[in-house]
């Protein structure tokens, strides 16, 4: 009888071994959720991705960063199947995505959900000239000094770039000193950037190629290069989003709400500044950029492959964004909500 038990025990061992091998060694194929996002959101998205994948090991959040317009173009003009689009300017979604997909009746999307705000600040380092003097009250005086070097992103490529110009123009209105823009930015380009005044609307028209003269002003393609230059001491101050400066650990000078492009309360004032880009880099969108509050937004394109998974990740991202924190946009009042349910979409409603 005892001898009869050995085959039985051996089979149990075999089964357990197979179960263990299958569970530990067979790779679980993960569901990819493809996100295309504005560069200034890469830090919070990376945080959300790490936490979400820990909770959902069967999901693989894949984030690809671009400027906001390029992010949308990946879906609309280049035909790539992203599950989630996250941009740093809510107005871009209706402007660029509320249009029919080629060969069908439906639009790329018909909705978006805003979820956070940002604001422009002046980032610096401990090596920046006069960093121990600069305050929210005197920043423009410090940046105007001839030996202080200032940087911003290329307005042709990065919304933070034209927003830097809008801030400098609005500062002239706010402080009643119209020399701020030329002293900090405009006079240091060839040709100089001049402001037109049409009925109280200040406009700067950029040349096709922005060419700084001397070392007073530096222009780089994106934040990553601008902040690298700041870190290396190539510039003293950089116009940057608050969340990006925080995420990269730079101290910064906050700016008054009247000029930092943060709040809806000042939206009428922000509209007094306008930048006209040197050329339409994308034929699908015009060259005019008017001051408006910086509002982040998401949509799930109708071409998405993983609609339900994208929705679940977005709701998780919304919950994290409501908590805020270093490197995150400022949360809006109230939890953002989707304007639809996936169940309704699935039912064809």
């Amino acid at each position: 009888m005892r001898g009869d038990r050995y085959p039985y025990i051996a089979w149990i061992v075999i089964v357990l071994a197979i179960l263990a091998a299958g569970c530990s060694e067979r790779p679980v194929e993960r569901v990819p959720v493809k996100v295309v996002a504005a560069g200034s959101l890469l830090y919070p998205l990376a945080e959300a991705e790490a936490k979400y994948e820990q909770l959902h090991p069967d999901i693989d959040i894949q984030v690809e960063g671009h400027g906001s317009i390029q992010a949308i173009r990946q879906v609309t003009d280049l035909g790539r199947r992203f599950d989630l689009v996250v941009v740093a300017d809510e107005s871009l979604i209706p402007d660029l995505m509320y249009r029919p997909i080629g060969g069908s009746n439906g639009n790329y999307t018909d909705w978006y959900t805003p979820f956070g705000r940002n604001e422009m600040v002046i980032a610096y380092t401990e090596k920046s000239r006069y960093h121990d003097e600069i305050t929210p009250e005197n920043w423009y005086g410090v940046l105007s000094r001839p030996d202080v070097r200032v940087g911003f992103s290329n307005p042709m490529l990065d919304a933070a770039g034209y927003r830097a110009m809008l801030v400098a123009m609005l500062a002239g209105e706010h402080y009643q000193d119209l020399t701020i823009f030329p002293r900090v930015i405009g006079d240091h380009f060839d040709p100089p950037l001049t402001i037109e005044n049409n009925g109280g609307i200040r406009t700067v028209r950029l040349p096709q190629v922005l060419k700084p003269t001397g070392s007073k002003v530096a222009v780089r393609d994106g934040s990553i290069f601008l902040l690298s230059l700041l870190e290396a001491g190539g510039i003293d101050y950089a116009f940057e989003y608050r969340s990006v400066a925080e995420a990269q650990g730079f101290p910064y000078v906050p700016l008054p709400d009247t000029i930092n492009l943060k709040t809806d309360d000042q939206s009428d004032f922000y509209k007094k500044a306008r930048v006209i880009l040197g050329f339409p880099r994308f034929s699908q969108i015009g060259s005019e950029r008017v001051g408006i509050p910086i509002l982040y937004a998401v949509t799930i394109p109708s071409t998405a492959v993983r609609v339900e998974e994208a929705r679940e990740f977005t709701e998780f991202f919304f919950r994290m964004s409501q908590e805020g924190g270093r490197g995150w946009p400022e949360p809006l009042d109230g939890t953002p909500v989707f304007p639809w349910s996936t169940k309704a979409v699935a039912a064809g409603e």
Partner: protein, 196 residues
């Protein structure tokens, strides 16, 4: 009894082997970009200068070719390359269309709606920001603008910008340039005179 248990266990083993032991998430492959057929016989490049030149891909390949090392970086720091780039120099194409002078600009565009503008200095290879492979800024070595049709010894693929893409090339390896100027799918080059 033992035989029954053994039979049951065999069935269990077979079941585990055939299905895997854990519940997997349903997976279906995400479709890739729809890539048009890589047949560019009807494709042309138009160069508008003092004269208008229209080239087929075969025409371009018959022109004197240049090669160099190209390495691009996106606005968020994603590196593309390094590549060995082969194609026609922009300066050669401009020369055939009447040449350019100081103050002129060159507008390069593609059918996807993308446009980039180079000034005279840039056409000569000057005024670009350059980085090393770790994306630290470095002084710019001599650069040239290439209309690339081959990358790493093979024709460009559609996703790489076929049949013709701008590349900023150097004789040195590891020189990274800003990718915004690397226009994909180029089909139009226009010289804008200073007086225009």
């Amino acid at each position: 009894m033992i035989q029954t248990l053994q039979a049951g266990l065999i069935l269990l083993v077979l079941f585990c082997c055939s299905t895997g032991c854990i519940s997997q998430a349903p997976v279906s492959p995400s479709p890739d970009v729809t890539v048009p057929a890589e047949d560019y016989r009807s494709w042309t490049l138009t160069v508008n200068g003092t004269t208008q030149q229209v080239y087929s891909l075969a025409d371009l390949r018959a022109l004197p070719a240049a090669t160099g090392h190209g390495f691009a970086v996106s606005t968020v720091g994603i590196k593309y390359g390094p590549y060995l780039c082969k194609g026609v120099l922009l300066t050669d194409l401009l020369e055939r269309a009447g040449g350019i002078s100081n103050g002129d600009q060159v507008w390069i565009s593609a059918p996807d709606g993308y446009l980039w503008v180079f000034d005279y200095d840039q056409v000569q290879g000057n005024g670009f920001i350059t980085f090393n492979e770790n994306l630290k800024e470095i002084p710019s070595p001599p650069l040239r603008i290439l209309l690339m049709y081959d990358m790493d010894g093979a024709p460009l693929s559609y996703n790489e910008g076929a049949p013709l893409r701008v590349a900023i090339i150097s004789e040195e390896q590891g020189v990274v340039t800003e990718g915004s100027a690397w226009v994909k799918w180029v089909d139009n080059i226009e010289i804008r005179r200073k007086s225009q």
